[in-house]
Symmetry: C2
Subunit: 306 residues, 2 copies
């Protein structure tokens, strides 16, 4: 087995068209989806294998864009006669809260993720939003994974609570946002909520707080990382998935997830997400290189030292 495969990263999640409205601008049917933001963000650090489904309306240029970033799209299923997942959302003036105006599941309705044989040797695995049943199905195809991390959504916590609890016992790390953590634990205090999720099974838990950063919980550590402050907040869509992508990309690059590496990984996730929100879709990430991430990382380290 090559080192490349050993250290590479697998993501299973949505590939989408997003229509986004903010108080200042709007975009129609731009490239989006959790697996897309995740894999692009991770691609600054490692090669990524993507699993997802799209319809026949999926433009070849989007696939070319992903491939240009070392993202393996051989696991991207084009469903004959199908239409790609579509999401329409609108951000409130605070740019942190949003309303989902329209969802067309389309090809995701029947999506059953089967991993290509080559993908099954990946050691670092991220299960982006998806039903816990599907997340478990993916885990079962990856008995040799080194690190498995999952995200979830309020919908799954509400409607498939038992399956979410089952999934939590099978993964190493959980990444979820503040509202989801409160819903899952029925606790309004995020520090207590983090510890409660930890008790549900995973070795570590990351709670994303949008513009307020992220909190980390493990048996021996609790810490908070603030978001990198940016004035140029254009569209928060994909920030959470980019955060996870930067984090997992760095872990896969380093080949381990010891406490020190994990903390640095959270910082990289924070920095990549701070770029994502500076424009719609992948537009800002397409302008930057690893050097831009490192430059901002240096500022961020300086910001946090006193």
């Amino acid at each position: 087995m090559s080192l490349e495969t050993l250290m590479s990263l697998l993501v299973v999640g949505s590939v989408a068209f997003d229509s986004v409205e903010t108080p200042h601008a709007r975009r129609e049917r731009v490239l989006g989806g959790s697996a897309v933001f995740f894999s692009y963000a991770a691609s600054y650090f490692t090669s990524v294998h993507l699993v997802g489904a799209v319809g026949e309306d999926w433009p070849a240029e989007h696939t070319r864009l992903l491939r240009s970033r070392r993202i393996d799209t051989s696991g991207l299923n084009v469903i004959p006669g199908g239409k790609t997942f579509f999401w329409r959302g609108k951000y409130l003036p605070n740019m942190n809260d949003r309303q989902t105006m329209e969802v067309q599941l389309n090809v995701l309705e029947q999506f059953n993720p089967v991993l290509p044989e080559a993908y099954r040797r990946c050691r670092f695995v991220f299960l982006a939003n998806g039903s816990p049943a599907n997340q478990i199905r993916v885990l079962e195809q990856l008995p040799g994974a080194t690190l498995t991390v999952a995200d979830t959504m309020d919908l799954w916590i509400r409607e498939t609570h038992t399956e979410v609890l089952d999934m939590l016992q099978r993964i190493d790390g959980m990444v979820l946002n503040d509202a989801e953590a409160k819903l899952l634990t029925e606790d309004e205090n995020l520090v207590r909520a983090g510890h409660k999720v930890l008790k549900m099974g995973p070795k570590f838990v990351v709670i994303k707080k949008g513009e307020h950063g992220a909190m980390f919980f493990s048996e021996h550590e609790t810490y908070v990382m603030p978001a990198y402050p940016t004035e140029r907040l254009v569209d928060p869509t994909g920030a959470g998935d980019s955060f996870a992508g930067g984090m997992m990309g760095y872990l896969a690059e380093q080949g381990n997830f010891d406490p020190r590496t994990l903390k640095t990984a959270l910082a990289y996730g924070t920095i990549v997400a701070s770029f994502t929100v500076e424009d719609f879709s992948l537009d800002r990430l397409r302008q930057i290189e690893r050097g831009d991430i490192e430059k901002r990382m240096t500022d961020y380290r300086k910001m946090l030292s006193f």
Copy 2:
């Protein structure tokens, strides 16, 4: 002039009875008020001179408590026939948002802060919540101050906007919370809002974000400090004033406010506030000593380094 006076700290603000209800408990007419929380928090670092007004209902034991902490209460006016300011508030389940249920201004209605002669040599000055007209009156009595910092409230921003702008041109530093910063600048992005407040006059601006920490803005620096994560959130009342007290207390102790000292001062403010919220009124602060603050500060530094 003694070094003690040169480095000591003056605060003008409210002294109050607070009735507080949280989802878990309630307390009636406990010791509160911006100047009380501020001066107690600052007393771990320096001596404090307090200016405020109370009524004849003020118990001598509260004054004794403050004096036991090197807080000079000779500027605390007991108004004959008057009643002490009273505030009743209720916290929502998230423990971050609160509703004011009742306010009795009482002696504060006519309060005109006149500083005792000895107070006029203080070099570090904090103007806690109060009308901007009163804040300006205090500043005019302190022409030789080294560092003047003020807080404000939504009420003053709405009803005495011109005076708030006047006050902002006369101070060195402004401390306000996120909602106030948005209201004052009509900008929902806190990074832009911070820079806009800076343009209104002060040399630096601190935006308090409650459980999410604080942001700092000066001509050359923008940074964020997360709150210290505590599970034991009992009552957030006084957190913002304790933050300011810890910050200003440390600055007065150091005798300067260069960028490096300011940053450490924000961290001390963060740590003192993290204790305040762990019980009602001053109950938690009364249990701790400087050593407890230093211990948590060491944890906090470790938390932010990677």
